[in-house]
Structures are given as C-alpha cells and as structure tokens.
C-alpha cells in the first residue's frame, strides 16, 4: 500500500493541492485504508486512495475558513487528464531531498511523504518524541512549500538521503535498512541512473551480510570473523547483477565504487580468499572520486591486507590521526605487525573515543584479549564466542 503513496501525493499536487496539505491528506487516507481495506478491499487501490485523499484534502480546506479562497480556486478547476505517476513520484523524491533542507529534515520528510511511514513510526525509529518528529516534518514541509513541483531535482541529494536512512541501522520498530532498500528500488525503477543502481547494489550487498554482523547479545562481529554461510546469497546475486549493469555504463561514481568493494568481499568464500589487491584498487578509485578521509582510512587498512601491515601503517601515517576510527585501524595494523603491547594500548584508546556502543565494546574486548595474552593469562572465552587463532579484529 505504501508503494502507492508518492504517486497519490503527486496527483493531489497536480490537481492544485499544496504539497503539505496533499501529504497530510494522503496520510489521513492511509489511516482510513488500514481501517477499511481488510473487510472491503478495493479493486483499484490507487484510485481509491486518490479519491479518499482528495476528499480529505477538500474537507481540510473547507474546515479552514482562511483558506476559503483557495477552495474556490481548486474546486473550480477542471480535473486534469491522465496523470503520469512516474514523474510525480520522482518529483517527490527530489522535493524531499531539496538542498534547502537539512539532512535530518530530508530524511524525515522522505520517510513520510515517499515512504508513507507515520510520524510515530519515524519518531520511534530515530528515538525522539513524536511531537519533536512532527515538528521536524512540518518545518521541512514549510521550507519546501515554495518549491515548484516540476523543477528538475538533484539525484545526488536523493541518494545521500537514502544512504543516510540505510546507514541508520535497525534498532527500532521500523526496519530502516529494509525501508531504504525499498525506496531505492522504487527509485531505480523510475530513473535510469548508474549511481542509483550503484547505491541499490551497495545496500543489497551490505544487507546480505546482516545476519552475520551481530553475534550473541548484539555484539559486533567483524567481517573477517563472520560466518559467511549466514550471508544471503540471493541478495548478493541481485546486488552483483545490479552493479554489473551499472558499471557497464562506464560512468563510475562513489556508490558504484563502494558497491564494488562490497561485492569483492561477498565474492570471497573465506576471508583468506579476499582479493585485497583489487579492493585497494577500488579504494583508489573511491579516493579519486570523493577525496573522502574515511575512504583513505579504509584504504590504508586494505593496503595492510594486500601489502602487509607495515605498508598499511605507512599509509595510515599520512592521514590525520583525529579521523574517526584512525586509532582502531592503527591498533589492528600493529597487532598484525606483531606488536601486541602497542595494539592493546591503542585498542583501549580507540574504545574511549568510539562513536557507537557496539564498536566501543568490540574495541574494549580486543584490548582485553591482548592484555590477557601479554600477562600470560589463559584466554577464557565460551566456545561459542571464541575468537579464531589469528583474529582479524578491525570491524569492516
């Protein structure tokens, strides 16, 4: 049902509703659909939603005396002919990712207007009160209220928003990663753009690993230690297909490059089979495309795998030590270089500045493991969570 939301909003806007009212009306119509459809499913769900949402819009407009003039205008207009839903949906993506919005506002508005989620669901997903999220959404709507619906949009901005949604994870009631994939898939069906495909591939390839990413009690399992039999081969196959079609167009972008790296990991049946040389090459492409310090940091770790830890440390030494996860990467490379004392110290330091709880716990565990080893203590871990003999500790 939520797939229909953007097109229905688009129809209302073309009939003369302003975006904010159209969006509200469609939300009201969805609420009614949830109530009515189970007992009385419509033959044409799209037409049903358009009719009910339009009625809701007119009701709301009538209820507001100060809007009387607009009511006369909109009701006096003839109904337009057949509407091209494809363009409407696309315009809605662009509008919700408009450059005048902050990233957080774009995310909230996209989830509501394009995704059809309720304000409550979005609030729960981002762990803020519903009233706060309602304000965020209504401010965003006000910000874009003067944007004309048929202006060309910026695909890169839309992709940035969808990437943010995907990367938020899946802590709440709503599976934001799955929602991001749904919205990106829908976008990819409407616009032929290699980076849209690149982002979709990236999401599918990472989503495929999700069952293996967390262990007992939500602990983070680094890529190298993941049980690869838990990876979703169907999603991997789809991701690789989508990526290959995108790459064949020879218009490389950052999401395609990231997806290529994810695909190389997915392609290795064991961590030892990983083609690190190719991964470094893709990181070179990524650094060339984005000049992102994060990409440089990850490249240094990949260099450590391809050319040995010394080479990785040399690459790392060229980067700003204040970068997030710089210390964690240094710890990992020092351990691989046979210096557990330095590694233990750096892991502990990295844990103190870790940006997330699972990472902090993971890094603390690495420091504890090395410290116990250095003190000559037996390494007591329950067998089901035991580390392999040569743990690859850097979370990837």
């Amino acid at each position: 049902m939520r797939d229909l939301v953007p097109a229905v909003i688009g129809v209302l806007v073309r009939r003369g509703a302003d975006f904010a009212s159209a969006e509200d009306a469609v939300q009201d119509a969805l609420v009614e659909a949830v109530r009515v459809w189970p007992d009385d499913p419509p033959k044409d769900p799209n037409g049903w939603l358009v009719t009910v949402a339009w009625r809701k819009f007119l009701d709301a407009t009538r209820a507001d005396a100060s809007r009387r003039r607009r009511e006369v205008r909109t009701e006096g207009e003839p109904m337009p002919g057949p509407v091209e839903a494809v363009d409407d949906t696309l315009q809605l993506y662009f509008l919700c990712a408009h450059p005048s919005l902050t990233p957080a506002s774009s995310v909230a508005l996209t989830l509501r207007a394009v995704g059809g989620l309720t304000t409550r669901q979005i609030a729960q997903a981002y762990l803020v009160p519903e009233a706060t999220m309602a304000q965020r959404i209504s401010r965003a709507k006000r910000t874009v209220s003067t944007v004309r619906f048929n202006q060309p949009g910026d695909v890169a901005m839309v992709l940035r928003v969808l990437y943010l949604v995907f990367n938020e994870g899946y802590s709440g009631d709503v599976d934001l990663a799955a929602e991001a994939i749904r919205l990106t898939r829908q976008l990819a069906a409407k616009i032929n753009h290699e980076e849209v495909a690149g982002l979709l591939a990236l999401m599918l390839l990472h989503h495929a690993r999700r069952p293996a990413r967390t262990g007992l009690g939500g602990r983070l399992v680094p890529l190298a230690e993941q049980d690869r039999s838990l990876w979703n081969t169907r999603l991997i196959a789809e991701g690789v297909d989508v990526l290959q079609i995108a790459l064949a167009r020879h218009r490389l972008g950052e999401f395609q490059a990231q997806a290529a790296i994810a695909a190389l990991h997915a392609d290795a049946r064991t961590v030892e089979e990983t083609d690190w040389v190719q991964i470094v090459e893709w990181y070179d492409e990524l650094v060339g495309l984005t000049d992102s310090p994060v990409a440089r940091l990850n490249r240094a770790v990949a260099v450590g795998e391809a050319d040995g830890p010394r080479a990785g440390l040399a690459a790392l030494a060229e980067l700003d030590p204040a970068l997030p996860r710089h210390t964690a990467a240094a710890a990992y490379l020092h351990e691989r270089d046979g210096d557990p004392a330095t590694a233990a110290r750096l892991y502990a330091e990295a844990a103190r500045s870790a940006p997330s709880l699972p990472e902090r716990d993971h890094l603390t565990r690495q420091a504890a493991r090395l410290n116990a080893q250095l003190a000559g203590l037996p390494h007591r871990v329950p067998p089901d969570v035991a580390s392999p003999p040569n743990p690859r500790a850097f979370p990837q």
């Binding site: 304000q135 990663a177 990991h265 870790a354």
Partner: protein, 136 residues
C-alpha cells in the same frame, strides 16, 4: 543527527563565572522566571525538532551498592552538602557538536538573582549510538 546530554550540575563543574546565591535565597519571582526560562527552552527545542527529553532531579537520594549474595544492598548518604549536585538534564537531537554547544550556551544564560544570567556551567556529553551499517 546525534543525541547529546546537557547535564545541569547546579553548583558543580569548573570554577563559577558568577558567584550567585543558592536558589532558595532568590525571590519567588526570580525562581519563577528561572523555571519559565527552562520551560521556554524546552518548547523552543520542540519547535525546532531537536527536543528529546528533560528531567529534573531532587537533591535527595543515596549511593547504593551490592553487598554480596543474600545480603541487602548497602546504602550511603544522602550527601546534602555535596558540591556537585546534578540537578537535571536535557537530551537534544541535533545536527552537530557545534549546535549542541550553541544550545548549551543558551541554556547557561538562564536568569538568576536580579534577572541576570547565572552563567551556569553545563556539561555536554555525546551519546553512544548504534554502529553504522556501512563501515568499510
């Protein structure tokens, strides 16, 4: 967006910038103005879509700890004369560290005696979040 705790230490923290009397020695109007400022601050945060939570704490309470299997927990305190008394907090969800610092600066300007800002020290602490999906 990231969440931050703005911790109100009441009279704790670094050396006070302004030495104002404890709140119970203010006039009732000054207390009212202070409380209203706090409410308005929360309302503004809600309006900007940045509000998560605010709570105030009573000064009472005690330290409590486990004391071994089968024994009741040990309590210590209350410490009425403690220098660092956590009075409450705000939790905000904002775009950046700079925004969090800016808001803490606003909150620190809460009025005290004579309606003048109390220049209260606020502790700003980032929350640990979930780890992102894509890290490589």
């Amino acid at each position: 967006m990231a969440k931050y705790l703005l911790l109100k230490h009441y009279r704790g923290g670094p050396a006070p910038a302004v030495d104002c009397a404890p709140m119970d020695q203010w006039t009732p109007d000054e207390v009212d103005a202070h409380v209203q400022f706090m409410r308005d601050f929360a309302a503004r945060l809600e309006e900007t879509g940045e509000f998560v939570d605010t709570q105030a704490l009573t000064p009472d309470g005690a330290f409590v700890r486990y004391d071994g299997e089968g024994r009741p927990p040990v309590t210590d305190g209350p410490f009425v004369e403690t220098k660092d008394l956590i009075a409450g907090w705000y939790i905000i969800d904002v775009e950046s560290w700079n925004r969090a610092v800016h808001l803490a600066g606003e909150l620190s300007a809460a009025p005290g005696p004579g309606g003048k800002a109390i220049y209260e020290w606020l502790e700003v602490r980032p929350f640990l979040g979930d780890s992102p999906t894509v890290t490589e």
